[in-house]
Symmetry: C2
Subunit: 187 residues, 2 copies
């Protein structure tokens, strides 16, 4: 399962709690793989049973106790094996409720469609701004998170951000062109 390897990959940078693992997901990896807290906690206990991580409890007086997870040697090995094993098919199946409705667009009012395209555009533009903000504070975050070689990690994290930005710009342009075409279209 990819989620568990994503988690092992993060833990290979250093020990973390489930909660802080979630933070890393949200701040960086969510570009590429989203995860919920309940999933992370469930998966952590599976990983511990497999011997890929081990945990120690750190008592805190002012805050709830922490269960800190460390990656084991077996965990590092399993992660490296997964990492090197690229799947044959490099694409993933697509399921998009918005596009499904566009597919059946002939059964909708033109005005309603334009409203929805505009909503789509503004949501994508908002997300583009989020990505640009992440990008601009990236080197700070890199040094926090990655201890060994922050510059090298930044190269690859920038690849994922760049893909996000490029595809966002493209779908915004696509939606704008759709609105234009719809405007011209008379039925």
């Amino acid at each position: 399962m990819s989620l568990s390897y994503a988690m092992l990959g993060i833990l290979s940078y250093g020990p973390r709690t489930g909660y802080s693992l979630k933070k890393v997901f949200d701040k960086s990896i969510s570009q590429v793989w989203v995860a919920s807290l309940s999933q992370i906690y469930r998966e952590l206990s599976v990983l511990e049973k497999k011997g890929y991580v081990c945990s120690t409890i750190q008592k805190q007086d002012d805050r709830p106790n922490k269960r800190i997870y460390n990656i084991t040697g077996a965990g590092e090995l399993a992660f490296q094996e997964w990492l090197q094993d690229f799947p044959d098919k490099l694409s993933y199946p697509l399921r998009d409720g918005f596009m499904l409705r566009i597919f059946f667009g002939s059964k909708l009012e033109k005005e309603e469609l334009i409203i929805q395209f505009e909503r789509f555009i503004s949501q994508k533009k908002a997300y583009l701004k989020v990505l640009e903000e992440i990008e601009s504070t990236f080197n700070v975050y890199c040094n926090e998170f990655s201890s060994e070689s922050p510059e090298k990690d930044q190269l690859f994290w920038n690849f994922t951000i760049k893909r996000g930005k490029m595809t966002l710009k493209t779908v915004i342009r696509w939606a704008e062109e759709c609105v234009e075409q719809l405007g011209k279209y008379e039925d």
Copy 2:
């Protein structure tokens, strides 16, 4: 569930068997929503229990018997309701095993990464060709599938194809730029 509405949407163009429903998915809607045969059969029986479709068996001597599904009035209504009810969030969560490995690219050999990027590029280029072929034979398929207003349907189906083509071209460009940057990078 979106799958069932996608199925109802197709059935609103005319009666079909589970098997031929799958064909329509593969030829057109799979751009936007993929479905497996077992899923389709399972979902058809659910839809029948709900009264959204009804089936009749057509005996065939040379081929296995067909169970032909028709959409009911209640089904049409449910479909229209779903269609008009665009979700607030117009994007879908992303989970991409390839990108996850790129994210951890600093832990891989540069040469291996370039090989994988090249594979990515050739796969995307192949898929782009498939899309272009679909596009060029689209008007034929439109008249086959859509009885009422093929030109209007074609407009929207072209929207989905166009998005596919645009994003494919973008990710190909992205991957090429990554290879270029990787080539320059010395560690």
